[in-house]
């Protein structure tokens, strides 16, 4: 691979390209600098024209500061010409200029400038000077920055003589923004070119190389870069480097909240995984009759518009709830850990359900049959074969729910009571005390447990093989449960589902009453108002989600394939980076995106693209995780044989991998779509006047106690998602070969 010839070839090509790149950059930036100088001179001329008619010191004192309104960030100083000494002497103006003048007035460059002005020629000093703008701060410039200095003569009425001179400082930051942009672009060009060269020169499989490279590019730009911006923020206080923020963050106050988050996460993840496994097992591995209905009902809670589940829980089971008080006369509080766990389990067990059922469906029953044939009991078979085979699914389900719970913010906001979790503490720091730095530091604290859990899981799964799809698919699944067991599972599931349906009916019922909780009389007025007010938001939300969904789905499967099947350097780093956005509270992602993408070269704030990118990046982890789990079960031999027959990587991906991981592909798309439709915490920082979001409107309506309108929009949202799911089932064609029927023994 790394032959001498190739290395020399590569170095030569790289050298050629780099020198070309450098030359173009220099030419362009030099051109621009000339143009910039000219423009500054024009602006200065414009400023000079506004000089006061009467030449009194007072008039000049008032006029000099107006330079700021003509050239942003500039400072001026007026010098009078002293006939007796034949010198320019300071008169009035900005302290910043005076200081710089006093420091440099004897330098050759300054002397030359004074001479030039004496002969009525304006001059720009070559080189830049560090001027201390903190002496005379304004919004554009308030610290010591390198600046360009200009000297312009003030000519007397006859036009013969210089009555005085004006020294103008223009901070570099305004002048060199374009050059910086140019530099970034050229560096990016060099990096991309070298990357491509590297792949072409040194790999046998350039397609994979390019895909890995693209993936790295996406991850670095849209995950690592914004996060670095946020990290930088947490180390800065009042404009200088400081560890103060982190000291505060690691104080007992927030460690308590961290502990709170962890307890909630572990509880929610464990219960959700158990419930999710139960549903998945019932639907995928038993002869249960109402699979489709149950499957739809069990995924429903994933489509919970934020706040709406918590709100209906409060309205039904709160201190004054319909069920808890009016019906049962209970006096328990749902605020705190218990209520929070309940509502999170309801909202998040579908994630576990979807992940685990994808895995259960893939298990090849021949192994179980063998076990049963060898006269193991059903329970023994389940324990020794089914459970271990679904272990990767169970572990990743647990991990996904755990991370999701840590990052959850909408539910704790309403239901936590006095129980403290980090995500809401971070939100309070950002919005209540406008301390962005501490908010991001807290959010990073949240990352630690997630990353630890994630790394442990990777280590553990990597050691084992779970291959069961071997290219000779069996079409039978063996029923593993006896009738009583199945009935018990059914009963529990129906009870659980009944509870969820009640919550959802509360939302639907809310559409038809005047004001839930206050006035229960029937009305249809909510529909008209909600539709007229929410129409554009609905349109925007659906458009954005519709673009994000297929993108995220394909990207996730591709990533999963690369991670599971290919060997390349930096794989672990890539994987870890991809997983991080899932664990970070949306508030931080939103803020870090603004910090990173509100300046050239990637000026994305205010566009729809930033919202789509945010969706894709945030939901990628779930898709990748699903894809990895599914791929772990598929024997690479199938892909290898395709490759042996001459298929390149994209063909293998399209014709082998994608059909085989169809359930995972579908569920990751479904998940992305629903999460995009119900996102709230990051979105609130990214929406703009042009691109609004339905959930923000729902939130605003419930803030205003217009539960009716909020319910209508929530209901519409739920139906849109259901419709799109159905559409996806049809569009992503089912592969008949991998379908299985369940037989009882």
């Amino acid at each position: 691979m790394f032959t001498k010839k190739r290395i020399i070839q590569f170095c030569f090509a790289a050298l050629l390209f780099l020198s070309l790149d450098l030359w173009m950059f220099n030419t362009l930036s030099a051109n621009f600098r000339t143009y910039e100088e000219l423009r500054n001179f024009n602006e200065i001329a414009l400023f000079a024209q506004t000089a006061p008619e009467e030449e009194t010191a007072q008039a000049y004192e008032q006029w000099i500061p107006t330079v700021k309104s003509i050239i942003a960030g500039a400072r001026a100083y007026y010098f009078t010409f002293d006939e007796s000494q034949g010198l320019f002497v300071p008169s009035s103006g900005s302290e910043t200029n005076l200081k710089l003048w006093n420091e440099n007035k004897n330098s050759p460059e300054f002397k030359k400038a004074m001479e030039s002005v004496y002969y009525l020629e304006p001059m720009k000093l070559s080189g830049s000077y560090k001027a201390d703008f903190s002496l005379d701060p304004d919004i554009h410039s308030n610290e010591a920055i390198a600046s360009q200095a200009y000297f312009v003569p003030v000519i007397d009425a006859n036009g013969y003589q210089a009555n005085g001179a004006i020294m103008i400082l223009v901070p570099n930051s305004t002048a060199t923004g374009y050059v910086n942009l140019l530099r970034t672009l050229f560096i990016a060009a060099a990096v991309i070119f070298l990357g491509i060269m590297l792949v072409i020169s040194f790999t046998r499989d350039p397609m994979t190389g390019f895909m890995v490279l693209t993936l790295f590019g996406i991850v670095l730009v849209f995950i690592a870069y914004p996060l670095l911006e946020a990290i930088r923020l947490s180390f800065i206080k009042d404009g200088v480097f400081s560890l103060q923020t982190w000291k505060e963050t690691l104080s007992p106050t927030y460690l308590v909240a961290l502990w709170g988050s962890l307890r909630l996460g572990v509880l929610t993840a464990t219960i959700s995984t158990i419930v999710g496994f139960m549903f998945a097992f019932l639907i995928e591995r038993t002869s249960f009759k109402h699979k489709r209905v149950m499957s739809i009902l069990a995924t429903m809670p994933v489509i919970s518009p934020p706040f709406s589940l918590s709100l209906s829980i409060i309205l039904l089971f709160g201190n004054n709830g319909l069920i808890s008080k009016q019906l049962l006369h209970l006096n328990t509080s749902i605020y705190g850990l218990a209520g929070l766990t309940l509502v999170e389990v309801i909202g998040m067990f579908p994630i576990a359900f979807m992940t685990i059922s994808g895995v259960l469906r893939q298990i090849d029953s021949t192994v179980e049959d063998a076990s049963l044939d060898l006269s193991a009991t059903r329970w023994q078979t389940f324990k020794a074969i089914t459970l271990p085979l679904s272990a990767p699914g169970i572990v990743s389900a647990w991990l996904l729910v755990f991370t999701n719970s840590l990052a959850d913010f909408a539910n704790p906001l309403l239901l936590s009571g006095d129980y403290r979790v980090l995500s809401t503490e971070a939100y309070m720091l950002v919005t209540g005390r406008s301390n962005l730095g501490a908010g991001s530091a807290l959010s990073f604290l949240l990352l630690m447990p997630t990353l630890t859990a994630f790394l442990i899981q990777r280590q553990w799964v990597a050691k084992k093989s779970y291959v069961t799809v071997t290219g000779k698919p069996s079409t039978n699944l063996t029923e593993l449960t006896s009738k009583p067991v199945r009935l018990t599972l059914e009963t529990i599931s129906w009870a659980f589902i009944g509870f969820i349906v009640a919550l959802y009916l509360t939302i639907v019922a809310g559409c038809f009453v005047v004001n839930w909780g206050i006035d229960y009389s029937f009305t249809l007025a909510n529909w008209g108002e909600a539709l007229s007010r929410g129409w554009t938001s609905i349109r925007d939300t659906v458009t954005l989600a519709a673009i994000a969904t297929p993108t995220a789905g394909l990207l996730a499967m591709l990533t999963a394939m690369l991670i599971v099947r290919k060997k390349f350097p930096g794989k672990r780093i890539l994987e870890t980076l991809i997983m991080t956005p899932y664990a970070i509270p949306g508030t931080l992602i939103g803020i870090s995106y603004i910090l990173a993408f509100n300046k050239p070269p990637l000026l994305l704030v205010g566009t729809g693209a930033i919202i789509v990118i945010n969706y894709v990046i945030r939901e990628l982890p779930v898709g990748v995780e699903n894809g990895i789990t599914a791929l772990h079960q598929i024997d690479p031999a199938i892909e290898e044989s395709a490759a042996d027959l001459g298929a390149d990587v994209p063909t293998v991906f399209r014709t082998i991998v994608l059909p085989l991981v169809r359930p995972a592909f579908l569920s990751s798309m479904s998940y992305t779509f629903v999460r995009s439709m119900t996102a709230v915490s990051a979105i609130i920082f990214l929406i703009s006047a042009r691109w609004n979001h339905l959930t923000v409107l729902i939130f605003n309506f419930s803030e205003n106690l217009r539960f009716g309108l909020a319910s209508v929009l929530s209901t519409i949202l739920i139906f849109i998602v259901l419709f799109v799911w159905a559409l996806m089932q049809v569009l992503v064609k089912d592969d008949k070969l991998t379908q299985k029927t369940i037989s009882t023994r």
Partner: protein, 359 residues
């Protein structure tokens, strides 16, 4: 597979639309009401758009900005954010501001924005109608309306639990209210920070303020995470008593909830909903037009009063149900002191360490 690819292609065609920013959007045909009288002083040729952040209630903002567009032809693209979110967003966007004006939101948040150099001074020719007490001496922000802190009680729940309606800050400490009062966490909400400064103004020293808050803490059921949330919980009967701003609560009463609003007899603090121009905003001319219009247009003022707020400009209209600031005993508030970052951090840290963290 092919069908999927076809769909993807269509999606790709949609992508360029994503990069359209607010300004380049073809203006939606303005629902210009025929009856709108021609503006008297505004230049007729003005049009275009302005990006705004607003902390007003969403429906109020929508109506207000629609009126402005009908009168001037300038489209207001607005995003509704809570006060804290607005400051956070302005700060994150400081290098390239997306909005030019921020309408509404408690004065203290505007002071925070001012202290972070996120807003810029502007002297409107209509500013003098607003008493000097209600505008920034440096002209960074200007007050629009005031809302006093009041107590709100759900009469049905109070009857059921045998509670009396509280009439003073001292009343709130009575043991009968144990676990029946809700307020927001001062760290999360300007409303509750206002409670701290009010108690400080009434009792004089910070130690006494903390002492009062400690006593009150015994009666507090939980600290909510938004200023208007406790009032809403009272409206639905979730909790019998809450502390909040009057106009938030009058609105709930108008929605039909069985509540009664009372003002504390010792005096109370108030919020000053304000307006600021964003430093470095892109369409500052239109933003200034909007700023002037909000301060001067009778239509704007009528719209505000429909939301039960009490405007501070001289001669402004008032809704009959709204609680006028003159009907209530208020404490003398020093907004600049309250909004000072050092003071605010100290008060909040004390509250957090001595009360919030102990729960």
């Amino acid at each position: 597979m092919k069908r999927l690819l076809a769909i993807l292609m269509v999606m790709l065609l949609l992508v360029p639309a994503l990069f359209a920013q607010g300004s380049s959007e073809p203006t939606v045909a303005a629902p210009a009401p025929a009856a709108a009288p021609a503006p008297v002083a505004a230049p007729a040729a003005s049009s275009g758009s302005v990006n705004a952040y607003t902390t007003l209630e969403e429906p109020l903002a929508a109506k207000l900005f629609q009126l402005f567009e009908a009168e001037t032809g300038i489209k207001v693209n607005f995003v509704r954010l809570s006060g804290g979110e607005a400051v956070a967003r302005l700060e994150a966007e400081a290098s390239n501001p997306q909005a030019s004006i921020w309408v509404g939101g408690v004065g203290l948040d505007h002071i925070t924005a001012k202290s972070k150099n996120l807003t810029t001074p502007y002297i409107s020719r209509y500013a003098t109608k607003t008493p000097t007490a209600f505008r920034d001496p440096d002209n960074y922000y200007i007050g629009l309306y005031v809302g006093p802190l009041t107590f709100v009680t759900n009469t049905e729940r109070a009857k059921e639990l045998g509670l009396e309606v509280p009439h003073s800050w001292a009343d709130l400490l009575k043991p009968q209210y144990k676990g029946y009062i809700r307020m927001a966490n001062p760290n999360a909400s300007g409303t509750s920070y206002n409670v701290l400064t009010t108690i400080l103004d009434i009792y004089g020293t910070e130690d006494k303020m903390i002492e009062y808050m400690k006593a009150l803490d015994k009666n507090i059921d939980q600290y909510a995470k938004s200023g208007s949330a406790p009032g809403k919980s009272v409206a639905t009967g979730e909790i019998p008593i809450a502390i909040g701003y009057a106009h938030d609560q009058v609105k709930l009463k108008a929605a039909g909830s069985p509540i009664v609003i009372t003002a504390p007899s010792e005096g109370t603090g108030y919020e000053l909903a304000s307006m600021s121009l964003v430093a470095g905003g892109k369409d500052s001319v239109n933003a200034k037009k909007l700023y002037d219009w909000v301060l001067s247009s009778p239509k704007a003022q009528t719209t505000f009063t429909e939301w039960y707020v009490v405007l501070v400009a001289d001669g402004a209209a008032k809704h009959p149900d709204a609680l006028a600031i003159s009907d209530i005993k208020t404490v003398v508030q020093d907004m600049a002191w309250d909004g000072n970052t050092v003071n605010k951090t100290r008060l909040l840290d004390r509250w957090t360490n001595e009360i919030g963290n102990k729960r």
